[in-house]
């Protein structure tokens, strides 16, 4: 199958019958080729943002919170490679984003992540990840960091009640940083996910959920502000409910008890309660076959692309297509072999459209950027 035939195929694929499929909002998505991190990442990102209408009207005099992707412990590396070359957002993309946000007039730029198995300062995790903390701090005025795996620097958690019927939890309780912001950016990696198929700007925000409340060692009643584990028991496998500070799930006896069902739904819920205003996907170098080196069979890939959009579902749909998949594929079809399609779940919530026919792709075309993750 040629690239043209493939594009024609995925564009003509029948849409899943979902509630809001045709009405879900759309926004343009831009793609740029960037073969290595030694290229002018700042210039290429700047061009992407310009193609989207510019950052200034979005961030001037605003507090901007940027959720980066630092999946897994910084000590876990694929064959000893730098984390940014495999499964973490690359620090050059992070630094360039900070610079461009600052140049566009952002008042405060707060980088956030729920770091693996710790609620310690995010600055420590950043240093352990090989990012140059001082360079990042000086990339723009007002750069801050917050580890959202617990309370962090705040005194209380923020509550994000789902407006309507959520898939899993009626309310998500998270770090204050996710509420105390004007603009929310998901700065993700172009990766497969072993359970959910792909992990892009939507799935990146699964990391907003604090292990202090939703972690395996969360307290039964109160949060555990020194979490040392992940969130498998609560979110992935429903072995227990979150700490009682957060409400339990709506239908504990329904649905599959695996990540492909549950994590996909939590991610879709989060796209509603914590809307993403700007999605940025680092696809310069990454991993295929899984989200991190702990997944058997994961391998390094070099798609050489940067993607940005103002709607996370649209951005992820384009990104999924760039990875060589049909963004409307359903359970059992690559890449959603064992999962429900997060994009379609988010689309059904009305977050955005995953229909490529409705999305205005700017810069490089999907066809030109195509890099097949399944070989």
């Amino acid at each position: 199958m040629t690239r043209r035939e493939w594009i024609a195929m995925i564009s003509a694929a029948p849409s899943l019958q979902v509630l809001h499929g045709a009405e879900a909002p759309v926004a343009p998505v831009s793609i740029a080729k960037c073969a290595t991190y030694d290229e002018d990442v700042t210039g290429k990102l700047g061009a992407l943002f310009d193609q989207l209408g510019g950052l200034e009207k979005l961030v001037r005099n605003k507090t901007v919170t940027v959720k980066v992707n630092m999946t897994g412990a910084p000590g876990q590396r694929f064959q000893g490679m730098a984390l940014g070359l495999t499964h973490y957002t690359h620090p050059k993309v992070v630094g360039s984003t900070a610079y461009l946000l600052g140049r566009a007039g952002a008042k405060r730029i707060r980088f956030v992540e729920s770091a693996w198995a710790t609620a310690g300062p995010l600055e420590d995790v950043i240093l352990d990840s090989g990012w140059n903390l001082r360079a990042l701090q000086s990339a723009a005025p007002g750069v801050e960091f917050e580890n959202t795996n617990g309370l962090g620097k705040s005194k209380k958690y923020a509550r994000f009640k789902f407006p309507g019927t959520a898939y899993l939890y009626p309310e998500y309780v998270m770090n204050q940083a996710y509420e105390d912001t004007d603009v929310f950016v998901s700065l993700a990696k172009l990766k497969n996910h072993a359970d959910c198929g792909v992990t892009l700007s939507l799935k990146n925000c699964f990391g907003c959920v604090p292990a202090s409340i939703y972690g395996d060692d969360a307290g039964l009643d109160d949060p555990n502000e020194k979490p040392t584990k992940g969130r498998s028991d609560v979110v992935h496998f429903a072995k227990r409910q979150p700490a009682r500070i957060a409400p339990p799930e709506l239908h504990p006896n329904e649905g599959l008890k695996n990540a492909g069902y549950r994590v996909s739904r939590v991610v879709a819920d989060l796209s509603v309660v914590r809307p993403i205003h700007l999605a940025i996907i680092d696809g310069v170098e990454s991993t295929a076959g899984g989200e991190g080196p702990w997944i058997r069979g994961v391998r390094v890939v070099k798609p050489g692309v940067l993607i940005a959009g103002l709607n996370p579902v649209c951005t992820d749909a384009v990104s999924t297509a760039v990875m060589g998949y049909n963004p409307r594929a359903t359970r059992g079809t690559p890449p959603f072999r064992n999962a429900d399609n997060t994009l379609l779940l988010a689309e059904a919530h009305g977050t955005g459209a995953a229909d490529l026919k409705r999305i205005d792709v700017r810069g490089v075309s999907i066809e030109q950027a195509l890099y097949r993750y399944d070989v």
Binding site: A73, G75, Q76, R77, G80, P293
Partner: protein, 464 residues
């Protein structure tokens, strides 16, 4: 052990060294020489290597080595004492290396009959004559350093997702803490393996950062290719020699004791002789640690420490227990092993912990980990998961160094180092590169420097 050490000291005191012009054993840079031809010695040109271990030395080879100022030693195996020794003596070697498990008194008997030669023992770890004044303590037992790989080729991760690194550093530090002897670790490359150059560099550095020397031993493949002067093999040899020179050019590093605020009180004759024990566990966490031999425990040895781990509480004398009580009364934090725990004794042929012992040691490790947390105990390093480090502090506190060794296949970029102490000047010393002044910046805990890139190893020198 003490009897054996005493006899060894007595024997050595009768052994004058043959050639006064030759370097002293403490400055020997040893290599197992796989060649028998004199032309092979051309490879030594421009290297710091000054001591060759021959399997079957000929008079011509010994003479040629000596002409280059290189010490020639003959390796004698336990089953070859008679014949091999006679042939070595006939070849007029400078000394012999007794490698393996010899009956008690063998060295003394040989020394008595051959007063003109040096004798080095490469014995099992549990027979090392600790506490002796021998200029060289040697063992043939060592782990092959590197990141542990499981059956499927994936890196093993512990419960905290830290990479585990096989290393001899804990053992070497424990031995070195006992006295000032130069330590040789003479383990050979894995059998039937063509060892990558980086792995040679890692094993050299693994010993070098602990003040010891690895007795260089080439695998058969590299030895053959080097004999043929294959370009890649010669390149590998130059890199090996270059890294040896890196450590030999800084003899002052070898004289510096471990620094930091964490002390581990341990019997080097027991758990200290093992790899994978508490010292290695702490090393993987990149916390500077000062091993204190239980037999030498004193208030002076604990000076400057704020935390101490007493691995084998039951082994302490009442006086030693009182020293630790005084330490805690003075504000120090003391962690002791679980009740009933005894530091395991190294068995002959075994240099790592048995599974059951390892599981019990994990209990101590969890407590140590909890006690240390993310505190800065002298130096705190970031982005060093594939690395080991050693913090050495010059007496008087005016200078210190931090050695870094990278065990991965890739260079590590952006290492950050936060340290305590008023060191306002920092220099990065890297093999084969010019020294570089590092920018020193203030941190919450003290000061910090950034190291852009570490290939195999690097050393940060800190000065006031």
């Amino acid at each position: 052990m003490w009897m054996r050490a005493g006899r060894w000291v007595a024997a050595m005191s009768f052994v004058p060294f043959l050639c006064l012009a030759a370097p002293s054993p403490s400055s020997w840079v040893p290599v197992r020489w796989p060649y028998a031809d004199t032309r092979s010695l051309e490879l030594l040109a421009g290297t710091p290597i000054n001591c060759l271990l021959f399997q079957s030395p000929t008079p011509e080879l010994v003479a040629a080595a000596r002409a280059r100022g290189v010490v020639a030693l003959a390796v004698i195996a336990p089953d070859g004492v008679a014949g091999e020794l006679d042939r070595a003596l006939a070849a007029k070697v400078d000394g012999i290396v007794l490698e393996g498990e010899f009956p008690e008194g063998t060295m003394r008997r040989i020394a008595a009959k051959n007063e003109a030669i040096s004798i080095i023992e490469l014995t099992s770890r549990n027979r090392l004559p600790l506490g002796s004044t021998a200029p060289v303590l040697g063992t043939y037992q060592g782990v092959w350093p590197g990141i542990t790989v499981d059956e499927e080729g994936a890196r093993k991760s512990g419960p905290t997702s830290s990479v585990w690194i096989d290393t001899n550093t804990g053992f070497l530090r424990a031995v070195r803490a006992w006295g000032n002897a130069t330590v040789w670790i003479a383990n050979r490359p894995p059998a039937k393996t063509a060892v990558a150059t980086t792995r040679y560099l890692q094993v050299i550095a693994d010993a070098g950062i602990s003040g010891a020397r690895w007795v260089v031993a080439l695998d058969d493949d590299l030895a053959a290719r080097l004999a043929a002067r294959e370009e890649a093999a010669v390149g590998a040899w130059k890199r090996i020699a270059g890294l040896l020179a890196y450590f030999e050019n800084h003899p002052e590093w070898r004289a510096m004791p471990e620094g930091g605020q964490l002390a581990v009180v341990q019997d080097p004759e027991k758990g200290g002789l093992l790899s994978g024990g508490i010292l290695d566990m702490i090393a993987v966490k990149h916390t500077p640690v000062r091993p204190i031999p239980r037999q030498q425990l004193s208030a002076e040895m604990l000076a400057g420490a704020t935390m101490a781990v007493n691995v084998d509480a039951a082994a302490l004398t009442p006086e030693q227990k009182e020293i630790l009580r005084t330490f805690t009364r003075g504000g120090g934090t003391l962690l002791t092993g679980p009740p009933g725990w005894k530091d395991p004794t190294a068995a002959a042929g075994s240099i790592t912990l048995e599974k059951a012992e390892l599981e019990r040691l994990n209990d101590i490790w969890r407590d140590v980990n909890s006690m240390i947390g993310r505190r800065n105990m002298g130096v705190r390093l970031f982005n060093v998961s594939s690395m080991l480090s050693n913090y050495l502090a010059a007496p008087g506190g005016k200078a210190a160094i931090v050695h870094l060794v990278n065990y991965s296949d890739y260079p590590v970029e952006n290492v950050a180092m936060h340290y305590l102490g008023e060191f306002k000047h920092a220099t990065l010393i890297t093999p084969g590169e010019a020294d570089k002044t590092l920018e020193v910046y203030k941190t919450e805990e003290g000061w910090g420097v950034d190291v852009d890139r570490v290939g195999i190893c690097a050393t940060v020198k800190l000065e006031q």
